[in-house]
Amino acid sequence: MTEQIALDELNQGVESTSEGRRGASLIKTAVLQVSALAIFLGVWQVLTVSGVIPSYLLPTASEVLTTLGEDIRDILSGGPMWTHFYTTLVEILLGFFFSAVIGIAVGAILSEFKTIQRAIYPYVVAGNATPRIAFAPLVVIWFGFDWASKVVMAVAVAVFPVIVNTMAGLAATDRDDLRLIRSLGATRSQLLWRVRIPTALPYIFAGLETAMLFSAVGAVIGEFMAGNAGLGYVTLLAQELFRLDDAFSAIVLLSVQGFLLHRLVVIAARRLVFWQAESGSPK
């Protein structure tokens, strides 16, 4: 981030004025965002130090920041927090991976085979409407205390947006595109690979973005239910021990982890679906 800003400052000197303006506006945005965070932390600090919010309900902002700093150092030096961080990371990524593979496969099968779609689509919708969290205790019984139950929870939560978006994407081909392709005598598989799949990609990636976030939710729920590792487990344990600063620190780490993983999907989408931003429409 700082590198980016420094570069933009440099650009201001040498590039055209519009580049310079863009750099200035980036700096402005960064200043605004840092200020907003500082105000938030300041209000938090004042409310907790003054006792308006008692310390057994909310730790002070400075306590949380200190603990967070220690935790980050621990992660970087490969301490116990690193194990928790890494455990959750692997659970989320596995959950995401299986959600993507299963979701795209199921979505594609449902949209290609109309009989299967008619037979089971209502149950997919019902499954999507079911609070899958309710299955968490059962999932632990079925898949044990280890990572498997967390990954299964993650997939249970994250797979549906991928299924639904894959179906929507494969059905999104424009009527004019279909006329053109048919007038050129395309076969069914040419239509699928040359037009329908590229058309579906932006939709699928939108589903994958959601899936990454949902996968993190599912993994943490899994850790709440059972096990002895992971940032969700740390959060739960710290709350039980009334070490609220530890709990908050772990939540911030989860949030940062989720944010970065989500960014990865967004960046991959921009690379692969490069035409989406420019062409405006979800094509």
Partner: protein
């Protein structure tokens, strides 16, 4: 390649169970290399007629014959240009023009290399030699439509069906496109079938205008345009041009009151 249309009828079944007659008794002969416009108000079946020519929808009865042969595979001989450019946004201009070579059950008779160089030539022909590697969103509306014309020409279509291809363009760009289309037509020698609801456009482009009226869609009159070729912008507004427009309009109002 000449096109012979005989007693063409097209009936759609509507949702309520009734029938809508989109085309009734349409008969027309289009000579090889001729430029013919189908002009008429909305609902007169001009687009349906074009779809039948292009093989996108089957006729209910009657026949369409290309050249002297029986009606066989139409897609190979007919190029299509739509109102929207219908370019695939993940393909460059060149890749979009090349698309027809990658579709169909039979491999193209020519090699990919020669078709790719033909795609380049066509982009050059429509004035986009410098834009081969650009994506559709980097091109203006007029440029996009030029790409779609080049695409329709890739497999050397002998009949070009154009469904209001310039309707979405602004007035200035449209005039420019008229001139360019006629010059491409002149050089490529295809048979042109152009659909529009714009009487001026039909008069400017055509050798002959087929006037259509709705409910049911019929060809009610034929107006031969007696303007010399090549056409140029200065002709618009001349007495001769206005006279041709008036004859199309009269033919229309004689059979249809809106």
């Amino acid at each position: 390649m000449e096109v012979t249309i005989r007693d063409l009828r097209k009936v759609y079944s509507s949702r309520g169970g009734g029938e809508v007659v989109a085309l009734e008794g349409v008969t027309a002969e289009i000579s090889s290399g001729e430029f013919v416009t189908l002009v008429g108000p909305s609902g007169c079946g001009k687009s349906t007629l074009l779809d039948i020519l292009a093989g996108l929808t089957p006729e209910t009865s009657g026949s369409v014959m290309f050249g002297n042969g029986v009606d066989g595979d139409r897609s190979a001989r007919v190029g299509l240009v739509f109102q929207k450019p219908v370019l695939l946004p993940w393909r460059t201009a060149l890749q979009n023009v090349f698309l027809p070579a990658q579709l169909g059950t039979e491999p193209p008779t020519k090699t990919d290399d020669s078709l790719e160089s033909r795609a380049r030539e066509l982009l050059d022909l429509v004035g986009l030699a410098a834009f081969t590697e650009k994506y559709p969103w980097e091109l203006s509306g007029g440029m996009q439509q030029r790409v779609s014309i080049a695409r329709a020409l890739l497999l050397e279509a002998e009949v070009m069906c154009m469904d209001e291809p310039f309707a979405a363009l602004d007035e200035f760009t449209r005039e420019q496109m008229h001139i360019e289309l006629l010059s491409i037509w002149d050089r490529q020698g295809f048979t042109g079938v152009f659909v529009t609801h714009n009487i001026f456009e039909s008069a400017f482009l055509s050798d002959r205008v087929l006037v259509m009226t709705p409910r049911p869609g019929r060809v009610v009159a034929e107006v031969a345009i007696d303007l010399p070729r090549p056409r140029h912008k200065d002709m618009i507004g001349t007495a001769g041009f206005t006279e041709n427009v008036r004859r199309i309009r009269d033919a229309m109002s004689e059979h249809w009151t809106g």
